[in-house]
C-alpha cells in the first residue's frame, strides 16, 4: 500500500467505520470505497479547515499566531484632520493583523515633543515605530537608538529634506514631496497660467513635510519660462487663522493670476476665499492645492478650485503597519520598501465619487463599507 496521507487517514476516521471496512477503504477498492472516500474527504476537508483554524486561531489569516505587537506612530500634527484617514488605515491594518497602534507626537509641530514621544516609545519597547520626519537633524539620534534596540523604524508623510533624509529609517511611505510640488506647478501652467502674480500658501513655512512642495512649485513655475511672479506666503497650522490670512491677502492683491496651496488647510481656505470674492470672474486663472478635505472637494465641484492632489493618507497609515508587521514576522527577511503613496490629481471630472461617498478612506466616515465602482477606468 502506498503511503496514505495522514489527512486522508484522519478523514476516514471521522466516518467511524469498523476495522475491516476501514482497511478496505484505505486500500481503495470498489465504488463504495470510492464514494465513501469522496464524501469522507469532502467532510474531512471541512473538518480539517476547522481543525487548522482552531490550531492557529490567534494568527491572522494564514499567518501563525503572533503576539499583539504594538506600533507607535509619531506625528507632527496629531489632531489635524488630514491624518484621520491615516489613523483609520492603521486601525484597519491592525485589526487585520492582530496588532495595535498608538498615535502620538505633537499637536503643534513642536519637534521637541516628537523627540520625547519617540524616546518614550523606545523605552516602552515598542515593536515598531512610524515617524513623520519633519526635521533633518533632530531625529537622527532617536532613530539610531531605536534601531540599536532592535525596533524597526519607517518614516511616513515626511522624510527629512530633499538632500538629506535625516535618519537611518528603513523606508519612507508617503508622497515624493518635492516632486508633488513640482507637479502642482506644472499642472498650474498647463491649466492656463502664462503671466501675472501667483501666490503659494504654506501653513508652516520651513516644515520639512511641506516646504519641499512649495519649492517644487516655485521651481516648476520658474522653469516654465513664463513671466510669472511667484510669492510664497505663510499661513498657519491652525486652519481658521490661515483662512483669515488668505482672505486678507486676496483682498490686498486683487489681480492675482494664480492661487496655489501646498497643505490641506490652506487649500480648503483658498477654495473658500475664491468663492467668497468670486475671483474666477476677476482674472484668477488657476487655483489648486493638496489633499481632499470636504471643503476642497466642494470647491472643485463648484469650480472655485481647478484641482487638488490626493496623497492617500489612508495608505500612509495602512502600509507602515503592514511593513512593520512583516518585518517582525519574517525576522527581517521582508524589508520595508520605499513606497510612493500616489500623486493623483482630482479634478472636476473625477471628483464625484469622492464627494458622494463618505468612507474611511477619506476620513469622512467611520463605517466599514465596500465602495461600488463600475464602468471604464479613466486613463490618458
Amino acid at each position: 500500500m502506498s503511503k496514505v496521507d495522514p489527512v486522508v487517514e484522519q478523514a476516514v476516521d471521522t466516518l467511524g467505520l469498523n476495522k475491516v471496512t476501514r482497511r478496505r477503504l484505505l486500500g481503495g477498492v470498489g465504488l463504495t470505497s470510492a464514494s465513501l472516500a469522496a464524501s469522507a474527504l469532502l467532510a474531512a476537508c471541512t473538518n480539517n479547515d476547522d481543525k487548522k483554524s482552531t490550531a492557529a486561531a490567534a494568527g491572522a489569516g494564514d499567518f501563525p499566531s503572533t503576539p499583539k505587537w504594538k506600533f507607535v506612530f509619531v506625528c507632527h500634527v496629531t489632531t489635524n484632520s488630514f491624518f484621520t484617514p491615516t489613523q483609520y488605515g492603521a486601525q484597519d491594518a491592525c485589526s487585520l493583523l492582530n496588532c495595535e497602534f498608538q498615535f502620538t507626537g505633537s499637536k503643534d509641530s513642536i519637534v521637541a515633543e516628537m523627540v520625547n514621544a519617540t524616546n518614550t516609545a523606545i523605552s516602552a519597547k515598542a515593536d515598531g515605530i512610524a515617524l513623520a520626519v519633519v526635521d533633518k537633524d533632530a531625529f537622527r539620534a532617536p532613530v539610531d537608538k531605536a534601531l540599536d534596540a532592535g525596533i524597526p523604524v519607517v518614516s511616513y508623510n515626511a522624510d527629512g529634506a530633499r538632500d538629506d533624509k535625516g535618519t537611518n529609517r528603513l523606508a519612507y511611505i508617503g508622497q515624493g514631496l518635492y516632486e508633488s510640488g513640482f507637479a502642482l506647478g506644472q499642472r498650474a501652467i498647463e491649466a492656463g497660467l502664462d503671466s501675472g502674480e501667483v501666490v503659494g500658501f504654506i501653513a508652516t513655512p520651513g516644515a520639512l513635510n511641506i516646504q519641499p512642495r512649495i519649492d517644487g512649485a516655485s521651481d516648476a513655475i520658474k522653469q516654465s519660462g513664463k513671466s510669472l511672479k511667484f510669492t510664497p506666503v505663510g499661513t498657519n497650522a491652525d486652519v481658521p487663522k490661515g483662512l483669515s490670512i488668505i482672505d486678507a491677502y486676496a483682498q490686498g492683491h486683487s489681480n492675482l493670476a494664480g492661487m496655489l496651496a501646498v497643505d490641506a488647510g490652506s487649500t480648503s481656505s483658498v477654495g473658500q476665499v475664491v468663492q467668497k470674492y468670486k475671483m474666477r470672474d476677476k482674472g484668477l486663472k488657476v487655483a489648486g492645492g493638496f489633499d481632499l478635505v470636504p471643503e476642497t472637494l466642494n470647491a472643485i465641484n463648484g469650480g472655485s478650485l481647478d484641482f487638488t492632489i490626493d496623497q492617500q493618507p489612508y495608505l500612509q497609515g495602512f502600509l507602515p503597519v503592514l511593513y512593520l508587521y512583516l518585518y517582525k514576522l519574517s525576522g527581517g527577511l521582508i524589508f520595508p520598501s520605499e513606497t510612493n503613496t500616489g500623486l493623483l490629481f482630482v479634478t472636476k471630472d473625477n471628483v464625484k465619487p469622492y464627494l458622494e461617498t463618505k468612507t474611511r478612506f477619506e476620513g469622512s466616515s467611520t463605517e466599514q463599507q465596500v465602495v461600488p465602482r463600475s464602468g471604464a477606468i479613466a486613463h490618458a
Binding site: V111, A112, N116, A117, I122, K125, A138, Q211
Partner: protein, 345 residues
C-alpha cells in the same frame, strides 16, 4: 517634700517607651506644614500609578525621558515664580526660548563669534528683553499681561522673519563638550534644572531680594511705604525669567540637535511653566509662591505626558485624559492643602 516628689513622679510623660513614634509624628507634621507637601504627594502618587501600569516607567532610559521633559519647564518656572510672586506675569518667555538658539546660530555662523562668548551674549540679549518687559510694565504702567503679550508677538515675528521659519542645524563649533554639557548628555538638563531650582529657591526664601519680591506682590503700597524699590524688584525678576528662558531654549536645542522655530510652541512652554508654578502652589494673584513646588509641578506634568504615552494613549483621547488628570491632581492638591492648613496650629 515627699508628697510633691511623688506627685511629680506620677506626672511623668506617658509615651516614655515609644520615642520613635513621636519623632515620626513630628517629622510628619513638619513635612505636611510645608506647602510643597501636597504637590509632592501628587507627584509620588502619579509615579506609583504609572509604575504599576507599565513596567518601563521606572527604567533608566524612561527616567531620562521624564527628566528631559521636566527640565526646561522647571527652569523657566523657577524664574516665573518670582515674577508671579511680585504680582506680574511674563507671557513672552516661551518665544524668548525659541529666539535664543537662533541668536546663537547667527552670532556663531554669521558673525564668527566664538561659541562660549556667543552663548553668554545670547543670555545677555534675553536679559535685555526681560528689561524691556519690566521697564514698560513699571514706567509706562502697562499691565504686564499686555506688555508681555506684545513682546510675545514681536519676538515671534523676529524669529520667523529672520529664520524664514526654517529649522537650522546646531553650529558645528558647539559640537563636542559644549553640546554635551548643555543638554545633549542624558542627565545634563536635569542637573542644570536642579542647580537653577536650588538657587532660585534660596533666592526667594532666604535673601532680601526674595523677601522684597514677596512684599511687592503682597502689599505694593505698603512695601513702597517701607522704602522698597518695587520697580527695581519687578524689572530684576523680569530680566531673570527671560534669561532663564533663553538658557532653556539653548538646552533644548542642544538636546534635540536642531534649532526649531517652534521650540517654544509659541505659548506652549510658557503655559506649562505657569501651570507648573500654579500646580506647585504659587498664587497667580501674587504675594506667595514656591520654587520647589514649581519644580514638582513641572514633574507632575512631565509624568502625565510620559506615563500616558507609555500606556499607549493616542493623541485625540490624550487631551481628554490630560485635562481630567490635571483637574484630579489639582483637586487633590487643594484638598491636601486644606487638610494641611486645618492641621496647623
Amino acid at each position: 517634700m515627699s508628697d510633691t516628689i511623688e506627685a511629680t513622679e506620677r506626672v511623668e510623660p506617658a509615651p516614655a517607651g515609644r520615642p520613635s513614634r513621636s519623632i515620626l509624628r513630628r517629622v510628619g507634621e513638619e513635612f505636611l506644614r510645608r506647602r510643597e507637601a501636597s504637590v509632592l504627594v501628587v507627584a509620588v502618587g502619579l509615579g506609583v500609578y504609572f509604575a504599576s501600569a507599565h513596567p518601563a516607567f521606572l527604567t533608566e532610559p524612561n527616567l531620562v525621558n521624564i527628566s528631559q521633559a521636566t527640565a526646561p519647564a522647571a527652569i523657566i518656572a523657577a524664574g516665573m515664580v518670582l515674577v508671579l510672586v511680585s504680582g506680574e506675569i511674563d507671557l513672552s518667555v516661551g518665544v524668548v526660548a525659541a529666539l535664543a538658539p537662533f541668536n546663537m546660530h547667527y552670532l556663531i555662523d554669521y558673525y564668527s563669534v566664538p561659541a562660549i562668548p556667543a552663548i553668554l551674549l545670547v543670555l545677555l540679549i534675553s536679559a535685555a528683553i526681560g528689561f524691556i518687559n519690566g521697564a514698560v510694565t513699571v514706567f509706562l504702567k502697562v499691565p504686564s499681561f499686555v506688555t508681555t503679550l506684545g513682546t510675545l508677538y514681536l519676538i515671534t515675528g523676529v524669529v520667523l522673519t529672520t529664520s524664514h521659519a526654517y529649522p537650522v542645524p546646531i553650529p558645528p563649533e558647539t559640537e563636542g563638550t559644549i553640546r554635551t554639557w548643555l543638554g545633549a548628555a542624558p542627565w545634563s538638563t536635569l542637573i542644570w534644572c536642579l542647580l537653577i531650582v536650588g538657587f532660585f529657591h534660596v533666592l526667594l526664601t532666604r535673601t532680601p531680594w526674595g523677601l522684597h519680591t514677596i512684599a511687592v506682590g503682597g502689599n505694593l503700597l505698603g512695601a513702597t511705604e517701607a522704602g522698597i524699590r518695587a520697580g527695581r524688584i519687578k524689572i530684576g525678576n523680569f530680566m531673570m525669567v527671560s534669561t532663564l528662558g533663553g538658557f532653556a531654549g539653548i538646552l533644548e536645542a542642544f538636546r534635540i540637535n536642531t534649532i526649531d522655530p517652534n521650540i517654544g510652541g509659541g505659548t506652549q512652554i510658557m503655559f506649562i511653566a505657569v501651570s507648573a508654578a500654579v500646580i506647585g502652589g504659587t498664587a497667580l494673584a501674587g504675594g506667595s509662591g514656591t520654587v520647589l513646588g514649581a519644580f514638582l509641578g513641572a514633574l507632575v506634568l512631565a509624568e502625565l505626558q510620559n506615563g500616558m504615552n507609555l500606556i499607549g494613549i493616542s493623541a485625540n483621547p490624550y487631551f481628554l485624559i490630560l485635562g481630567i488628570a490635571i483637574l484630579v491632581s489639582m483637586i487633590a492638591n487643594v484638598y491636601l492643602s486644606r487638610l494641611r492648613r486645618a492641621g496647623r496650629v
